[in-house]
């Protein structure tokens, strides 16, 4: 059924990528900003898109070129996925499911989902922390050791990233979620920069975040419409639940 709803059109060869980076719009647009920046700095090539009848009939026009809203990029062993709109609620489950199927089919070994975690005191934090959670303990231990970050040990996660994590755990597939402390309601290029520094360590590639920090103010203004729509989506996803502490389980 999911295969009928989701259409992944691409020309990635089997075994062509080891890692899929996902940066859909979410808290502070951390995933969107970080992954878009990585795509630009690593000079990744657009290789495909995802379409669905559950997406609005919308295209992006850049340089008089028609582009899809959920696009796939590739370079060396990394594939990257970004979306110009927040993922509509009815699409979350089928897309999560189809994406893991697709990764398995393409022999991609790991999915790294990039996001923000709402920090009410973000204004008082100069260097936001990056935390990790993964679909299995070995993968989580590997990531926290390699990047030198803490584990996300307790709390709730909602939305597409939670769905990916759940599917990964269910199907014994390596899915990780990296979360940077971020403003809940505002685009947060500062949090995205910290995320990119963590990804640089993970991929053993040096990525300079100075240009991102220099253009932070411009990015914030330009991305306010996407943030506004994302906020609306996050409310429906009960995203504030992520700020709650789960009850103690016995």
């Amino acid at each position: 059924m999911d295969q009928d709803l989701i259409n992944i059109v691409e020309d990635l060869p089997k075994g062509g990528a080891r890692i899929l980076l996902e940066g859909f719009p979410d808290v502070g647009l951390v995933g969107f900003i970080s992954v878009s920046y990585m795509i630009e700095k690593l000079e990744m090539k657009e290789i495909g898109y995802i379409d669905s009848e559950l997406l609005p009939p919308l295209v992006v026009i850049n340089d008089s070129k028609v582009r899809n809203i959920i696009r796939l990029y590739h370079k060396d062993d990394i594939a990257a996925l970004i979306s110009e709109i927040p993922i509509p609620l009815p699409l979350i489950r089928p897309l999560g499911n189809s994406l893991i199927d697709w990764c398995k089919g393409k022999e991609i070994k790991e999915v790294i989902s990039i996001s923000g975690i709402a920090e009410p005191n973000r204004l008082d934090i100069d260097v936001p922390k990056v935390l990790a959670i993964a679909s299995n303990k070995d993968f989580l231990d590997y990531l926290t050791h390699k990047i030198g970050i803490e584990k996300f040990d307790e709390g709730y996660l909602t939305g597409f990233k939670a769905e990916l994590l759940k599917e990964g755990a269910k199907r014994n597939f390596n899915v990780a979620l990296l979360l940077a402390q971020a403003h809940f309601n505002y685009p947060d290029p500062g949090a995205a920069a910290q995320m990119i520094l963590s990804l640089s360590k993970l991929f053993d590639r040096k990525i300079d975040v100075t240009p991102l920090l220099k253009s932070a103010e411009m990015l914030k203004v330009q991305m306010r419409d996407l943030m506004r729509r994302t906020n609306e989506n996050l409310i429906r996803l009960q995203k504030s639940k992520e700020m709650e502490v789960p009850p103690v389980y016995v």
């Binding site: 204004l123 809940f184 411009m218 203004v221 419409d225 729509r229």
Partner: protein, 138 residues
């Protein structure tokens, strides 16, 4: 006897209707914001209001403004912000932030604090304290 399947069908159909109504209202709001911005050539910033029984904590995202140029005023129950935006957008539009927020509860106009850091303006406004009376528990 209750026809459960019919009841369920009606229930989910009503949920879908409500969702569609919310979508329409949200889209209408986004359209109004963009129309206002484009017509008047200013930027309506993103903001967030938190409140407890003591105070309002309002944060407003206004990157590219000099702290000295922010004009923040209280007019009765309305918080009004204006500030020139120094960022040159590729579209050439929007050279000023404007926002008015209506506060629903009476406030102490003398007890307002504001700070501006990394493009975010945070304002805390004390609410007027209501008279309290201790209740004896028997």
């Amino acid at each position: 006897m209750v026809n459960l399947s019919l009841w369920r069908k009606r229930f989910f159909s009503r949920i879908r209707e409500i969702e569609e109504e919310i979508d329409r209202a949200t889209e209408e709001l986004f359209r109004e914001i963009k129309e206002e911005e484009l017509r008047r050539n200013y930027i309506i910033p993103l903001y967030n209001i938190r409140e407890n029984e003591r105070e309002y904590i309002i944060s407003i995202d206004i990157p590219g403004v000099n702290k000295e140029d922010i004009n923040l005023e209280l007019q009765k129950d309305k918080l009004i912000l204006e500030g020139p935006c120094n960022i040159k957008l590729p579209s050439g539009r929007g050279n000023c932030y404007k926002l008015a927020i209506e506060l629903t509860e009476p406030i102490e106009p003398e007890k307002v604090r504001a700070r501006y850091k990394n493009g975010v303006l945070e304002i805390s406004i004390l609410k007027k304290a209501e008279e309290r009376r201790k209740i004896r528990i028997e």
